[in-house]
């Protein structure tokens, strides 16, 4: 059984300088309540691995505006001019990675693989400093695995074993990040008693999840 904790308790676990994976695609499927708690706690020097940095003041953009980030590994920052500004001013180090390669690098970290061999980015400036491996006469880029101290996820539904179910395009990077964080914290829309989710409907088995964020109190029986 997993502890259901508050977003504030989650933020307290996460120290300045931590490496975070944060699920979501332009804020869709991001753990917004944990993000807010990190901002409120005044966290600094975080490294964030995510698809993008949301929009100004939305999703991961809230961490950008709060000056909480030292480094970003993402596929796209174009929807958040504040990240671009931080990069140009040298406040935020930005490492841009093709989206599919980013997903595979996270998976390699979570699945115990030594790296990703991909054609994406080959012979482009995005491949600079990356090793090229020749296999049967063909060149492949070797991209390194990514891991994080914490993976912060959104989910549609969870049970108290920690099983997670995602919905529609809010799924995106959440399931793969669940495999690659040393500590995995999920923020589901609702948490149901154990046994209510069919084994076939579980997207992320609870063994990968360490903590659930309890939902906001609406109803006390």
């Amino acid at each position: 059984m997993k502890q259901a904790i508050s977003p504030q308790q989650a933020a307290e676990m996460i120290p300045d300088g931590a490496v975070l994976m944060i699920g979501g695609f332009m804020g869709v499927g991001s753990p917004h309540r944990i993000i807010d708690a990190l901002v409120d706690a005044g966290r600094k020097d975080l490294t964030v691995i995510a698809n993008d940095t949301g929009r100004p003041d939305y999703g991961i953009g809230r961490l950008v505006r709060a000056n909480a980030l030292r480094k970003v590994i993402a596929s796209h920052i174009g929807t958040n001019p504040e990240t671009q500004k931080g990069m140009i001013e040298g406040r935020i180090e930005v490492d841009l990675v093709p989206q599919g390669t980013l997903a595979e690098r996270i998976r390699a970290g979570g699945y115990g693989l030594g790296g990703v061999l991909t054609r994406t980015g080959l012979n482009t400036i995005a491949a600079k400093s990356q090793r090229v491996i020749e296999i049967d006469g063909e060149d492949w880029l070797l991209a390194s695995p990514l891991k994080a101290d914490f993976a912060l996820l959104h989910a549609d539904r969870a049970d108290f074993v920690g099983n997670l179910v995602y919905e529609l395009t809010a799924t995106n990077f959440n399931p793969v990040m669940a495999t690659a964080g040393a500590t995995v914290i999920a923020e589901p829309r609702e948490i149901v008693p154990v046994g209510l989710i069919s084994p076939d409907n579980v997207n992320t088995p609870g063994v990968l999840v360490n903590f659930l964020i309890r939902r906001e109190a609406h109803h006390v029986a």
Partner: protein
């Protein structure tokens, strides 16, 4: 007909029934308007759905159903949710029939630059590099010129998106096919003369004897 509509209609006629297609943000997205549902084309949005439908009626949006640009969408009957790894598995594994993308430059080798203007605009490549490297066919949908300057150039000055030759370039003036021996002018927009296309193109163009007008349906 607007330049955008010329491009979108012509690209639409390239798409074969029953295929999987990914439309880039912006001009390419509008191609979907010109696809009849009975053609059974499925649209992928790389953030996680196969079978993307058009914008929902007002008040019927779902905040967990969006496209790669963050806009609200619907799901067609038979749609499937995919996570980011499978979404890019479809793209990188050769399962995506066509990607339609905008371009900043395309050159005589058919190489595309569309993701960065160093020192000016560094949005990141998003899924563009995976799409160009992985899709079976890559169609570039773009204005023929930008502020009067040719975008089809001898050699890209901007950083490449992939070292792969794209399949087809569709502009408001022309359809151009990159081949092993260079760019071949295949069609011209209605009312546009071959000389106008050549003048608006700084790359070398092979011009066949007969260059038909686009069929815009």
């Amino acid at each position: 007909m607007s330049p955008e509509e010329i491009i979108q209609r012509r690209v639409a006629s390239e798409l074969r029934p029953g295929t999987l297609v990914n439309l880039g943000i912006g001009l390419p997205t509008g191609v979907a308007k010109f696809i009849q549902p009975e053609r059974g084309i499925l649209f992928q949005s790389e953030n996680g759905i196969v079978g993307m439908g058009s914008r929902p009626p007002e008040g019927m949006e779902d905040e967990e159903l969006t496209d790669a640009g963050g806009a609200f969408i619907t799901a067609v009957p038979g749609a499937a949710t995919v996570d980011s790894t499978l979404s890019f598995g479809l793209i990188r594994g050769g399962h995506l029939d066509v990607t339609v993308l905008g371009g900043l430059e395309v050159d005589e080798k058919g190489h595309l630059a569309n993701w960065v203007v160093p020192g000016k605009m560094v949005p990141g490549m998003g899924g563009a590099m995976d799409l160009v490297a992985g899709a079976r066919r890559v169609i570039i949908a773009m204005q023929h010129t930008a502020k009067g300057r040719p975008k089809i150039v001898p050699e890209c000055t901007l950083p490449l998106t992939a070292n792969r030759r794209v399949t087809l370039i569709v502009t408001d003036l022309a359809v151009i096919e990159p081949t092993e021996t260079g760019l071949v002018l295949r069609e011209r927009a209605p009312g546009v003369a071959v000389a106008d296309i050549v003048a608006a193109t700084s790359a070398k163009l092979t011009v066949p004897d007969h260059v038909p007008e686009m069929d815009l349906g």
